[in-house]
Amino acid sequence: MRKALAIAWKDILVLSRDFVSFILLLAMPLLLILVLGTAFGGMFVSNAAPFQITLAFVDQDNGEMARLLRDEVLQGPDLKEMIRLRAFASPDEARQAVRAGNAEAALIVPSGFSRAVMGESESGLEVLANPDSTIKAGVIRSIAEAFTTEVMARGAMVRLTLTELLSRNLIQPQEATATAARWVPELQSLQSQIKIQREQAVTPGAQLPGAMAYYSISMGVMYVLFAANTAGGSILTERRTRTLLRLFSAPLERRTVLVGKLLGVFLLALIQFLLVVAFTALAYRVSWGSSIPGLALMILATVFCLAGLSALLASLYRSESQAAAIGPAVALLLTFLAGGMWVFTGGPQWLDILSHASPVRWSIDGFLTLMLGGGLAQILLPIGVLLGLGAVFFGIGFLRIRKSYDVA
């Protein structure tokens, strides 16, 4: 192990002397994070600016349903922090507020809405949208539609039941009114729908911790692949410069040489990523979450997986020029596929499924979970996948390189 460590350390030392490559490997991800984080900041909602909607609310109904919508739904526990409600006396005033930009949307509960819900006539909520706030207006529209659908359906059910009970003289008409008033507000399914609407509506930003943080993950991970590829390429360099043969003529096992080389790939990738994490935390104020064990394990799992991938790729290369051309291309492809260049959220589901074929996606998912307050328990899946993939990659790479060493 002493010799393997010496080989690994030597590889890091050799790469550190390649000043241009070393600076590029360290400086480029930090620069890219800054550029992408700044350029695409608008697509994200940062921690400093939580997703909020100012809603102009007009209650022309003054009935139970309007109260329910205002107090239990829009200002209920799920939406209270997201929706800032401003009451207006008339639709015109609300429209004026939306036009003036004082509200992103207006929701008008028309007169007779409560009666209509319980009766058989049709009625609906009216939503006015500010064209500059389509996403936020869309959220309100979705909530309004979900509420209307739910209360109409529930109203119809209650109506049917009461009609049946009344026809059999099992209850008196005054009891029916009281029952209806009790049943309708129990809008449990509406609450769950509202939750889904909220989560879908606030994307892509609300589930992301900010552009700078997002690109700190994706660019950091991509450059781990670059660094590991560079270190993996040194396996080929040693073959060309005949230092590999010299190592083989020294009194050590060939597998020790291989373990040392792979250890070098792992350590360089680890150093690279730790520097990205440390620098982005200090310079860009990126929060990598509060779970230190979670972060440590995610870093180790990510580096293990991507270093393994680089070892596998190194075993496939025939020359250093192949390593220089193919490695970065694979890194870019996997990062792109994982949504590391820009966020796929809101895109087709098949793309989301496909993106999980990239180990970078599992890394991004794990780090995002930590950044959004998750702990070790929430990242066990990405950690497991990354460690599993890494073991497979390292295993195949080790066997292939060892085979090539046998004929060296």
């Binding site: 030392l13 020294a250 009194p251």
Partner: protein, 313 residues
Amino acid sequence: MSLVRIEKLSKTFEGGRKAVDEVSLSIEEGEAFGLLGPNGAGKTTMVLMLSCLLRPTRGDAWVDGASVVQDSLRVRRAIGVVPQEIALYPTLSARENLEFWSVMYDVPSRQRKNRIQELLVVVGLADRQNERIDRYSGGMKRRVNIAVGLLGQPKLLILDEPTVGVDPQSRNSILETLKELNGQGLTLLYTSHYMEEVEFLCPRVAIMDQGRVIAHGSQEELRLLVGEQDVITIQLGSVPPDDILDKVHAVEGVSAVHHSEGELTVLSNSGRRVLPAVLDKLFDAEVKVRSVAVREPNLESVFLHLTGKELRD
């Protein structure tokens, strides 16, 4: 007792090319043994097999009693290898290179510093030990290359053309250093296609050609193979016609003739007697002659005598 024993060592590569064909040799402890031959003679393949880097197709070799086939780790503990290439890390300094290789060669950590310093003095680089290798001259790199081979205090130092591409001054320095090390008891196996180097360093020599040892013994024994023949070297000032070799060979008393790179080499029992007739043939063919030299036989003439070729062909 022989430190190295080689028995019917053979290597056939894919495609059936025989690089080494049933070579048997022995090298005594403390001697400097030369392996001389042109490029492609099989010297490097021999070195690779003795360094346990290439498995023989047939035969075996033993270094300090250990088989290169069956006990390669023991063999590798007994040898130091100086490859033809500069097998070093160019962005590291000489000291850093030696520190790394000293771990590979199991130099105990307590002795490491002194051992490295000693070797840097031996190869004359103590004052520039902290400079990166890629800023060294070719000769300096070669000297570090040799120092690495010496790190493990080997019983046998195998050197494969260690002076390729080195200026004459550095070459002399390297050869002097090796002679001194050999004088201190280190056994050397030295391969080269430079006859002068082998003549200077190695009392015993094996001459290889096309994978086979065509002659071996002391330098005196090898010269006797040529007999009392003189070597006439004629520098030509113009390109000779194709049939000039046949015409010169037809001169009475000429035993062998060879032309390479504007130089005609003639072997004869009496150089001075045949020289006028040889020059007549050249003048008749209107070949310009720039210089003529007649000298005693050497390993070059032995090789020419045995193969009809020059070492540098």
